[in-house]
């Protein structure tokens, strides 16, 4: 038996679940870890679903939750790994160094992008998610976040430029960057 709020979240699970699973996978070690991240996302959504009054913005809101949870988990994991590597398995550090500089395969670009989106400043991340996920125009995004259109344009421009720089640093195909006009 579910109340109205839970039914609302259940509808979000059907609508956004598959795509959000891909986002969770960018921060997860395996499929179970990705499911845990997504499970935690739905619990946060259940607790705060009353704050979402406009269903047109729920996509970006859910993406922000899963990005925050995923990034937090990845940080904790890397801190734990760094500590263990330093004190118990220093040879692991050599393997990690050898892996740097290898160009990512196509399916890894999405993972890199999501991690970089999670690291964006709050306003840039919000604007990017509204534009990309909620498919809002510049003016709609400006109204949703109560900012000027110029601010939205500048934030999006900086977010895209930052993503392009990070992709270039990871060895992404230049053709992809040309398509992004950066």
């Amino acid at each position: 038996m579910m109340d109205a709020g839970a039914r609302r979240v259940a509808a979000w699970i059907d609508e956004f679940g598959p795509r959000l699973l891909g986002v969770a996978g960018a921060f997860a070690q395996d499929a179970d870890d990705a499911e845990d991240i997504l499970q935690e996302t739905w619990m946060v959504a259940l607790r705060r679903e009353g704050c979402v009054r406009d269903d047109s913005q729920v996509g970006a809101w859910l993406y922000r939750i899963v990005l925050n949870i995923g990034r937090s988990r990845a940080r904790k994991r890397s801190r734990r790994t760094a500590l263990l590597t330093r004190w118990f398995w220093p040879e692991m550090a050599l393997d990690a160094v050898a892996a740097v500089g290898t160009p990512p395969v196509a399916e890894e670009i999405s993972t890199i992008l999501w991690r970089e989106v999670a690291a964006l400043p709050s306003l840039q991340k919000t604007v990017l998610l509204h534009r990309v996920v909620d498919e809002m125009s510049t003016s709609e995004t400006a109204r949703a976040i109560d900012r000027a259109e110029g601010t939205v344009k500048v934030s999006l421009h900086r977010a895209i430029r930052r993503l392009a720089v990070r992709l270039r640093a990871c060895g992404v195909d230049p053709v992809l960057l040309k398509e992004m006009r950066l």
Binding site: G22, M43, R47
Partner: protein, 109 residues
């Protein structure tokens, strides 16, 4: 340095959308049912205070009573009664921690 060429970036947004939001059409088998089951469990359970919150209240009650009245035994009684009443209260106290997963461990419903 002023940013040049500030436009709507519509093409970039479309490209990012294709890269970031494409994926499977459905959740893996069983995952959806697990999500919904957890959702049903948590939505059916009324808000309950956590054990940590009950403990904090108990300590505060003990300290307050002991300071005001003197006898330690009286403070312990008040602290215990406060914690017990709070932990079994039927009304939600949203200002304190909400821990739905802890309620079954306490045997509370």
């Amino acid at each position: 340095m002023k940013d040049a060429k500030i436009d709507d970036h519509d093409e970039d947004v479309r490209l990012l959308r294709s890269l970031l939001t494409s994926g499977e059409e459905q959740l893996p088998l069983g995952m959806r049912s697990r999500f919904l089951a957890r959702l049903a469990v948590n939505s059916a359970r009324p808000l309950r205070p956590s054990r940590a919150a009950a403990g904090v209240l108990g300590v505060m009650a003990f300290a307050g009573t002991s300071i005001l009245t003197g006898p330690t035994w009286l403070g312990l009684i008040v602290a215990g009664a406060t914690g017990l009443v709070y932990a079994t209260a039927a009304y939600p106290l949203t200002a304190l921690t909400y821990a739905p997963d802890e309620a079954p461990k306490l045997g509370l419903r």
